[in-house]
């Protein structure tokens, strides 16, 4: 997000920065993808909230950029550019407000998919095993293995 912010703010005045940022993002994507698929393998974002935080941050950065542009034109006494930037800013805020929704709300998806009167006992027993404390259930078995 920091790189995205620098890229957004400097893109109009220093065109080399978006190029450097694109190289950076590509390298990070390759490295992180490789690590997640081959080395870590088990990472889970169970709340699914990270993507919401990231998109919100990106939205705030773009809106801050528009505020800064408006301020820049305003202090240099360029009325027409200031008005145009202010209009774009207001439209962006309006659009963000009316079109905002959670990117990935697991609870809503599950609620839509579920059916009543179908409590699965087999799944329930699996649930109990999965959430049991690691030192309570299977403790002796694990020690035997090691």
């Amino acid at each position: 997000m920091t790189i995205f912010t620098i890229c957004i703010f400097y893109a109009p005045t220093v065109p080399l920065i978006p190029l450097a940022a694109a190289v950076f993002v590509y390298i990070r994507h390759m490295v992180d993808g490789y690590n997640l698929l081959t080395y870590y393998r088990r990472e889970i974002d169970s709340s699914g909230k990270m993507i919401d935080h990231i998109t919100n941050t990106a939205l705030i950065v773009v809106i801050m950029y528009q505020i800064c542009m408006t301020a820049y034109f305003s202090i240099h006494h360029r009325q027409s550019e200031t008005m145009a930037c202010a209009c774009i800013f207001l439209l962006s805020v309006f659009y963000a407000a009316i079109s905002y929704e959670d990117v990935y709300d697991l609870a809503k998806i599950e609620e839509q998919m579920e059916a009543y009167d179908e409590f699965n006992d087999e799944m329930f027993s699996k649930w109990k095993n999965e959430y049991a404390h690691p030192l309570v259930v299977g403790h002796s078995r694990r020690r035997e293995q090691s």
Binding site: M1, V31, M50, E111
Partner: protein
């Protein structure tokens, strides 16, 4: 019982199917992790001879010392096992449907007043602890109200019969002294079992204190870029200004350009490590929550410190952000208008390229894991296989993929 008394748990839909009470086994878990680490490393080292054997502690190399260390850990574990059973205050509750879960979550969401209460309760706890520390009073004998529970013997199951649960917490909940907090359970692999212990106090005060310290640092001391500028003023040998590179030709020019961004990155990494440590102290019960906190802290800090403040303060002649505001008569429009001027374009290109190259090399090679495996890649790989497949509960905050930090 609280759920049942309030008729949350008996209606259809909304009945509680089961409840898993989590015991406070945090100390046992830590000792068990040490024992497993000792065993695994000893076994792995007998297969692969480490590259830097001089750095390896003697308990992994010497059989007698290994046995002694193992005996010590076993004794510690035995002592912990003999202690009375303590409820951690955490429980997993299984409802009959997701709809019920959502209704219950909405009902038990803390109100702003309750959040304020939690904050003042943590301030009170901290002040009491401080007072106790000043007067050097022995805290032994001062137990929380949960200590009065009827303890049960250890069992292979962690289900509790209703009859053995004491009503003390329920009474304090009804009186408003305790707040029942509910959240959707994390995935089993995502749970940080080592933090599922008794909650001694909330972290409201700690977070507020860190926030104030952060604001003071940013406003009065400013960013690493300004810190470097101040350090250069005190540097009588002009080493930090990189003027000594002038006689080194093309290589010297490269060093002159890339040296300051590199120093700023180093200072930045140190401060980010402190933020990470602050998140670890907050003891989240899942990796996801920890990563979310790291993301929020780091994104605010890095945007301020790597972009906003360096641009403003460098264009303002290395002054702190407080000086900048006072010199511009608090004209925020003027200060914001300076943000995207191409004064520091070259500096940021170098900063991006350096950060990209260094982080790609560091994380592609998983250098931190290799360092903690005594510089032996094979050992690091085998340990990772154990963490992934055999014992995922042994992963801590530092041995997981830190996507919160990467996204920031």
């Amino acid at each position: 019982m609280i759920l049942k008394d309030n008729a949350y748990g008996s209606q259809v839909p909304g009945s509680v199917k089961s409840c898993l009470i989590i015991p406070d086994f945090t100390q046992n878990l830590k000792i068990e992790a040490k024992i497993q680490d000792l065993k695994d490393l000893k076994m792995l080292m007998s297969v692969e001879t480490p590259f830097m054997s001089c750095c390896i502690p003697s308990m992994y190399k010497n059989q007698d010392k290994y046995e002694q260390a193992m005996e010590n850990y076993e004794n510690e574990l035995f002592e912990e096992t003999m202690k009375s059973f303590v409820n951690s205050g955490h429980a997993f509750v299984c409802f009959d449907s997701v709809t019920s879960l959502n209704i219950i979550l909405k009902h038990f969401q803390p109100t702003p007043l309750q959040n304020l209460k939690i904050f003042f309760s943590s301030v009170k706890t901290k002040l009491n602890d401080f007072g106790r520390w000043i007067t050097r009073r022995d805290s032994v004998g001062q137990h929380s109200e949960f200590d009065s529970q009827v303890y049960r013997g250890r069992s292979k199951s962690n289900f509790l019969a209703e009859s053995v649960i004491d009503i003390a917490p329920e009474v304090s909940y009804q009186n408003g002294e305790q707040i029942l907090m509910m959240d959707k359970a994390s995935e089993p692999l995502d749970i940080l079992w080592k933090n599922m212990g008794t909650i001694k106090g909330h972290f409201g005060f700690t977070r507020f204190f860190l926030f104030i310290v952060g604001i003071v640092l940013i406003v009065f001391l400013s960013s690493p870029a300004v810190m470097l500028a101040h350090l250069q003023e005190f540097d009588s040998f002009s080493w930090l200004s990189f003027s000594w590179t002038e006689d080194m030709g093309t290589f010297g020019l490269l060093m002159h350009k890339s040296g300051p961004p590199m120093l700023i990155l180093l200072i930045n990494v140190t401060i980010i490590s402190l933020l990470d440590y602050a998140s670890v102290i907050e003891s989240y019960d899942s990796h996801s929550k920890y990563q979310n906190t790291v993301y929020k802290k780091t994104v605010v800090y890095t945007i301020l410190n790597m972009f906003v403040i360096p641009v403003l303060t460098i264009s303002g002649g290395g002054a702190s952000i407080f000086d900048l505001f006072t010199n511009n008569n608090f004209n925020i429009a003027k200060i914001l208008g300076e943000l995207f001027l191409p004064k520091s374009g070259e500096f940021f290109i170098l900063l991006l390229v350096q950060q990209g190259a260094l982080s790609a090399v560091f994380y592609a090679l998983n250098i931190s894991d290799i360092i903690w495996s005594f510089f032996t890649p094979a050992l690091a790989f085998e340990r990772r296989k154990i963490y992934n497949d055999q014992a995922p509960w042994r992963r801590d905050e530092q041995t997981t993929f830190t996507y919160g930090y990467f996204n920031s």
